[in-house]
Each structure stands twice: as C-alpha cells, then as structure tokens.
C-alpha cells in the first residue's frame, strides 16, 4: 500500500473536460435548433396564450348540451369500438403471441413472419390505418373497428410474446418433465401464469383504444369524433365543447373502471 503519505485525489467521474464541454454544446443545440429551423419565436408561443384563452372563453362557453340526446348513439358506438376492438385483438394476439414465442413455436420461419407482421402493423399509427382503410372501403364503422384491431394487434402480440417467453423459460419445463403434451403445457401451465399480464396488457390497450376510437371519426371512420369535427367546422363551438366534455368524462370513467378491474383481478 501507499505509505508515502500523499493523498491522491479521487475524481467522482471519469469524463474528460473536452467530452463534458461537447455534451453541454449538444444539449444547447438540441434546445435551440428546432426554434431556429421552424422560425418560431418562443416568446410568441407564450404571448399567444391570452388570445387562445379569450377566444375559447368567448366562443365555447357555455357548453350547449341541448343536442345531447343525439350524441348518445355515437358515445355508445365509440365505447363499443374500443371494447370489441380490444377483445378481438386480445384473442388474435394470444394466438400470434404463441406463434412468435421462441419457447413455444420451434419453427423459426413462422416466428419471423409473425414478428415482421406485428412490427409492421404496430408502427403505423391508428389514424393512418383509418385514413388508409377509409380510402379502400369508404366511410363507415367497420373501417374504424378494423383500424383499431390492426393497431392493437401489433402491440399486444409483441407484449404477449415477451411475457410468454419469460414464463416458458422456467415454469413450463416442469410440466414437460411430467410428460405433458405441448397443448397441456399451454393450457395447464402457460395460461394460468399468463392471466395477470394478459389482464394488464389488455386493459392498458383498452385505455389507449378508447382515446383512439374517439378521434377515429375525424377521418370518417365512425364514433363521436365526427360530431366534434362537424360542429367546429360549422362554428358551433358551444356544442363542440359539450361533446368534448362528454368525451373527457367517458375517458375518465373508463380509467376509473379499468383501475377497479385491475385491483379486483390482480
């Protein structure tokens, strides 16, 4: 050991001065460059707020709920889109998740196909799906549902497959050692272990879907979104606000319900 009595200084980190300065520069560029490129004055953003607020106050208040009766079918439609879209994708995604899991499906080609398909549909936003499908099938409810299912399917397939792989790594080996057939391993081992994550992921995508299904109408794919769009275009701002409030309440209620269900099941 060092017996000379000198106390060597111990730096807290190993970053060199040059590297540190470079990091600061990068952060600075990251913060300022977008404003310069977009030719936006950050001060203008701040000064715009008062006029936004006053425009909102003058035109949107008070909300006009007189036409509420007419929205009810649309609200139900929005809700049902999310419900049906979620459960159909949950079932399909479970099958695809099994097909994508290394521990369950030994055929590499099929796994690759499923993975490619799921990342493809997952990375296209739901509104893009909806506009695309409206273009192909025309305006209607079926299009909204299809768009939701596609987007959810991609997301759930990957989430399920990862969870399935985690479970299969350890627990299922025991059933294999018992002499269980692949179907028995899935039904008696995988499914019970999978339920908590299945509930969690599915409820999570339900929350996403209820928001998505509310805006689907804006591209003509059904639901409450179309009425909001129409009212704003016709300058019926007070009615639009009534719809927006209804929508917010709908979303808050589903979040509340989802939290309750989660607590009850897990």
């Amino acid at each position: 050991m060092n017996s000379s009595g000198h106390n060597p200084s111990v730096p807290l980190q190993q970053m060199s001065v040059i590297k540190r300065r470079l990091t600061y520069m990068m952060v600075l560029v990251f913060i300022t460059f977008p404003f310069i490129y977009l030719k936006v004055n950050p001060l203008e953003i701040l000064t715009a707020y008062p006029s936004i607020v006053s425009f909102f106050g003058e035109n949107f208040f008070p909300p006009d709920f007189s036409g509420f009766k007419n929205y009810v079918p649309l609200i139900i439609e929005t809700l049902l889109f999310a419900v049906v879209g979620t459960y159909i994708s949950a079932i399909l995604a479970f099958i695809l998740g099994l097909a994508m899991s290394e521990n369950i499906n030994p055929i590499a080609l099929v796994r690759w196909l499923v993975r490619t398909f799921s990342s493809l549909v997952r990375n296209i936003p739901v509104l893009v799906w909806a506009s695309l499908l409206v273009y192909i099938f025309g305006i209607g409810s079926m299009v909204g549902l299809l768009a939701l299912i596609l987007a959810t399917l991609g997301f759930l397939t990957r989430s399920y497959a990862e969870t399935i792989d985690d479970i299969a790594d350890t627990k299922l080996e025991a059933l294999k050692a018992n002499g269980a057939s692949p179907i028995q391993v899935i039904v008696n081992g995988l499914m019970p272990e999978f339920i908590p994550s299945w509930v969690n992921w599915t409820l999570f995508s339900f929350e996403i879907n209820i928001r998505a299904s509310a805006i689907l109408g804006m591209v003509g794919a059904g639901g409450i979104g179309i009425m909001i769009q129409t009212n704003i275009r016709l300058f019926k701002y007070q009615e639009a606000l009534a719809l927006i409030i209804t929508l917010v309440i709908l979303i808050l209620l589903t979040e509340f319900a989802v939290t309750k269900i989660r607590k009850a099941i897990l």
Binding site: G5, N178, V187, N188, E193, P196
Partner: protein, 271 residues
C-alpha cells in the same frame, strides 16, 4: 425388476458445439438406490440429471431407462417415458396461480388425455390420491391455496407430491434444497427420503452440501469438470476425496485489495 434401472453409456454433452459439459459418462443405477451427485459449480451435475429425462439433449451416448433408450425417444414415446420419471426443481417450478391440489394433479398430465386436464375432469381416485400425498407431507390444509402464497419449503413439498403423483419409478431432483433455509431443507430431505423408501423408488439428487449428501445417500457420485471422479458410499467419501472433487488448492495466497484508510471530505484516502 432385474438388472439396473438406468444404464448410461458414454454420455457426452457439448453446449453450442464447443463447451464440453459432460465427458464420456458411464454409469449404472440399481433400483432403490438413493444417489447423491456432488461437485463444484459448473461441474455438469444439472446437465447430467437433465440428460436423463431429455430436458437437455445429449450430444453422444446412450441412456437406457427401464429397458428403453430414452435418448432416442421422441414425441409420444418420450412423453410416456418422462411420465415414469418424476422431477423436482431448485426453484420448485410450480404453476404459481394454480392451487396446490391442481399443481399436484399436474403430475398426471403425461397419463391423461388433454380434455381431462383442460377441463379439470380428473377422477375422484386421482383427486383422493393427490390429497393423500399432500397429507403425507403435512399440507392437507392448503389444498386450495395458490402456490404463489406458500413458503419455499411448502412449495418444494408440493413439488415432491407432483413428482409422486406421476407414480414414477425414478425421481430426479436438481438441488431441491438450494433455495431453502436449514430447517426447511431438513424437512424436505426427510420427506424425500421417506417417500422414496416407502415406495421403493430410485432417487438421484444433486446437492451442494456434502454433509447432507452423507446423511441421506446410499451412494455418492462426485463430478468434476464433466467427469465422474468418485463413486462410492458415504463412508468411503474421505476428506481428501472431497478436496479432490472440489479441487481445493493447497492454500492459495489471498489477494489483498487496497482498503481506504479513512475518508476525508467525502473522498477515500489511501495510506
């Protein structure tokens, strides 16, 4: 039964083509033996035990179990042979969100058709048998508890019942007590020894603790770097042989790491 229950000839295992885990293991195990395999970490104990029921595919060699070559068996035949070999795991590997009774009944998976297991249509005899097994390990009051709510020792006792539910002729246990405290370890090992003796079963157990091995084994096998370096009784396992198995070097100079003398102004100071 006449002859050995298990006849292993020239068994070798290479992982990913290069890493050699087992080298030319040749071994015979007679009915009713309680064999304990000991050896340092990475010696190949788990690999050996897992080759026996084909959870790990051997690279070479032959494993004759109950007169049939399990290393060549596939599909239904393999499942049928696995059904005769019970296995107990270090991490219990119970289905955690399934109750204790159903976990034990899972031992029957290899011998019931899939609709029986899927819809829980097990016969009353099977259910009674599971109940009786749980009673022998003192868990008759926990039938409907989910496995995840049990203690480690209780989980391992369920694991033993699941293996026995198969009505196996051979039981494999890969470090069944490595995750348990000494008291639970003793309970689990006592039960394992008791039930295998009562049923005339053959048992192969991997263990880290030499004293535990000596206490329960009728035969001890020492494995080092994929080879058998000892095969004998507890009495024959001397201190020197233990040292040889674990390859303890004579007395290696300890590496002395610098330790800060004191801490001044938040910085360690070496003297």
């Amino acid at each position: 039964m006449k002859g050995p229950l298990l006849k292993i000839t020239n068994l070798s295992k290479r992982y990913d083509g290069n890493k050699i885990a087992l080298k030319n293991i040749t071994l015979e195990i007679q009915p009713k033996e309680f064999v304990v395999i000991i050896g340092p970490s990475g010696a190949g104990k788990s690999t050996l035990i897992r080759c026996l029921n084909q959870l790990v595919k051997p690279s070479e060699g032959e494993i004759i179990f109950d007169g049939e070559d399990i290393s060549k068996a596939k599909g239904k035949k393999l499942r049928q042979l696995r059904g005769k070999i019970g296995m107990i795991f270090q991490h219990y590997n119970l289905i955690s969100r399934t109750n204790v009774l159903k976990n034990v009944l899972n031992g029957k998976l290899g011998s019931v058709p899939f609709w029986v297991s899927t819809f829980g249509l097990y016969s009353q005899e099977d259910r009674l048998q599971a109940y009786n097994l749980l009673k022998t390990v003192g868990l008759q009051d926990s039938l409907y508890q989910q496995a995840k709510d049990l203690s480690g020792g209780q989980m391992q006792r369920v694991g033993i019942c699941r293996a026995l539910m198969q009505e196996p002729s051979l039981i494999l246990a890969d470090e069944p007590i490595a995750s348990l405290d000494p008291k639970s370890s003793e309970v689990v090992m006592d039960y394992l020894k008791k039930v295998t003796e009562e049923r005339d079963l053959t048992c192969i157990v991997n263990l880290h603790q030499v004293e535990v091995a000596k206490k329960y084994a009728t035969r001890i096998i020492g494995v080092r770097e994929g080879e058998i370096v000892f095969d004998g009784t507890s009495e024959e396992l001397s201190e020197d042989i233990i040292k040889n198995i674990y390859h303890l070097p004579e007395k290696k100079q300890e590496v002395i790491l610098p330790v800060p003398g004191f801490v001044a102004e938040g910085e360690a100071v070496y003297e």
